[in-house]
């Protein structure tokens, strides 16, 4: 069972594989998917397995792309609409954070607050998204407020309950230790429970933000007459003009944007919680990139002192 001296095992249980192999394996999946796409949409007219109206081919999609990228009016621009959607998600999500995290901390610490909030959380977590779109439309119309409130309502109960369980999951031993060191209840909340729970909270926020970014189109698409922008609006345009390419481009854009956002959040997480992500941070390309960028603008005092005189 000896392993190659500087090698690795292809199916080593819970072991790492080299970076190049990991990248190649990922690339393989991309190429295979592209090949499938190409194969199902090759040929012309009725010969195709999937018709143009069902799924445009790779070539057709690439050909159409400049229409979204070099569009004269920002309304049709892919980047502009992505940013519009993103802004709405950030506003709604930020609002949900402002409400959800402090309330969640309080409810995680004190059973009475937890009991008061329990019905709201139950309701909020189980609200059907499709019904919520109708509700915010009825309440707020079709403006920006509606979209921000949609994200807010969709997220806040999840943020609340995840914060509560993260606080509750902090080991009782830490609380007892703090008590025997003379900490007051308030000090235990802010010096022990909150800092120890935050990495868990942040983890679930990363997941939720990704979901919220996918949800926002649900309300953007119910736009009666155009003008408000967003990726949902672009999707509507695709339907009206019978341009399935737009749909494909958006479907491909969303994961890339979501991945970028997640990487940014991960880097923020590494910087915020160095005590937890020391090793993981070193393995993350995004983190090292952020560090080299940071070091261009800011040098910690001690690295200056090491520089030759």
């Amino acid at each position: 069972m000896s392993e190659p001296s500087n090698g690795f095992r292809l199916f080593g249980l819970r072991t790492e594989i080299p970076r190049w192999l990991s990248a190649t394996a990922g690339l393989f999946t991309v190429v295979a998917s592209a090949a499938l796409w190409w194969w199902t949409t090759r040929g012309v007219g009725e010969e195709r397995i999937l018709l143009y109206s069902q799924l445009p081919s790779i070539a057709e999609t690439i050909e159409y792309f400049p229409n979204l990228w070099e569009a004269d009016s920002p309304e049709r621009h892919l980047l502009h609409n992505t940013l519009v959607s993103l802004k709405r998600v950030i506003l709604g999500f930020g609002l949900a954070l402002l409400v959800g995290i402090p309330l969640g901390v309080a409810a995680g610490c004190f059973a009475i607050i937890r009991s008061i909030l329990a019905p709201l959380i139950l309701f909020g977590r189980n609200i059907p998204i499709a019904a919520l779109t109708a509700l915010v439309f009825a309440l707020f119309g079709t403006g920006e407020l509606e979209k921000v409130m949609f994200i807010f309502i969709a997220c806040v109960a999840f943020i609340l309950s995840d914060t509560i369980s993260s606080i509750q999951d902090v080991g009782e031993r830490y609380v007892e230790t703090a008590l025997t060191l003379g900490a007051t209840r308030l000090q235990i909340v802010f010096k022990v429970l909150v800092p120890l729970a935050m990495p868990m909270v942040f983890n679930s926020l990363r997941v939720l933000f990704g979901l919220a970014f996918g949800y926002i189109m649900l309300v953007e698409i119910i736009q009666e007459s155009g003008g408000a922008g967003g990726l949902g609006y672009l999707l509507n345009m695709a339907r009206r003009r019978s341009r399935p390419e737009i749909m494909v481009i958006i479907i491909l854009t969303i994961p890339i944007v979501a991945w970028l956002i997640d990487q940014v959040l991960f880097v923020v997480q590494c910087w915020l919680f160095r005590w937890k992500y020391g090793r993981e941070a070193e393995n993350s390309g995004a983190f090292r990139l952020s560090r080299s960028i940071l070091s261009l603008f800011w040098r910690p005092a001690n690295s200056n002192s090491k520089a030759p005189a």
């Binding site: 007892e176 230790t177 008590l179 025997t180 022990v192 160095r274 937890k276 020391g278």
Partner: protein, 276 residues
């Protein structure tokens, strides 16, 4: 009389889940007193079968729920009933409880921070204590707990307790998870520090050697519901742990106590046998 006792238990009984089907009496009628000798804190080792209520006694003293408050009887510290936890009674647990988000320095300074001591002052005290428990201020002070070994973590736990100068130190199997070599080192360290701070120490352990080596007195608890069966005076730790624990005289004391404990276990076995 009472005021002269740093710790006193008066007929303390703790029953969990009173009035329920799973009602369980962990300790019964425990009575003892530790005199408050000026300039000398006594070191009490606590031995007893698993489940005999050793942790229960310590947590009653610490004022930690659910063991606190006692079902009946009184737990007194300097003549005053224990009402809850406080920094005058430091506690070191078996599991590692360093705050993961704090460096060693900030862990050790935690208690002072809670008291509102200024940053410069608490850091300078913390550095002193990091040094005193045998850690390196420069290289270890900035580390986070996940970068430390088990022995180092327990050194941090001891430092952050002693920095507050508690009159009473409660240790619940603090070295239970350490290897023998580390254990000897920690025992020597504890003896040195204890001589300096002169606090009353309650030290729970499963190692008879450790109990005999460290203690002035060894309490032996009966099977549950625990009562104190014996209080045995043992010689002071005058030589290093690894050396003294090998001597014949020391071994003899250990064997005597082992016999007592094994008797307790065999009584239990006989009882179990008659039940089935």
């Amino acid at each position: 009389m009472t005021a002269n006792n740093i710790v006193e238990f008066r007929q303390v009984t703790k029953t969990f889940n009173v009035g329920r089907e799973d009602e369980f009496t962990a300790i019964r009628d425990i009575t003892f007193a530790i005199e408050d000798l000026h300039g000398h804190g006594e070191f009490i080792s606590v031995l007893g079968p698993s489940g005999s209520g050793k942790s229960t006694i310590l947590r009653l003293l610490a004022g930690l729920e659910p063991q606190h408050p006692p079902t009946s009887g009184q737990v007194l510290v300097s003549g005053v009933p224990v009402l809850g936890p406080g920094a005058d009674r430091g506690m070191v647990f078996q599991d590692y409880t360093s705050f993961d988000n704090r460096t060693v320095l900030d862990n050790v300074a935690f208690g002072l921070e809670c008291r509102g001591v200024s940053k410069t002052e608490r850091y300078s005290k913390a550095r002193e204590w990091i040094h005193r428990v045998g850690l390196n201020v420069a290289s270890d002070g900035g580390k986070y707990p996940h970068e430390l070994s088990g022995g180092m973590r327990q050194r941090v736990a001891i430092a952050r307790t002693l920095i507050l100068h508690p009159r009473i130190i409660l240790m619940d199997e603090p070295f239970g998870a350490l290897d023998p070599h580390n254990r000897y080192q920690m025992q020597d360290l504890l003896v040195t520090l204890w001589r300096e701070v002169q606090a009353t120490v309650f030290f729970v352990t499963h190692s008879i050697e450790e109990a005999v080596y460290l203690g002035d007195r060894v309490f032996i608890l009966s099977r549950s519901p625990g009562t104190i069966l014996h209080q045995i005076e043992v010689p002071a730790p005058v030589r290093p742990a690894a050396e003294m624990q090998r001597e014949a005289e020391f071994q003899e004391k250990v064997f005597r106590i082992r016999d007592i404990l094994e008797d307790l276990e065999s009584v239990k076995k006989n009882q179990d046998a008659t039940v089935t």
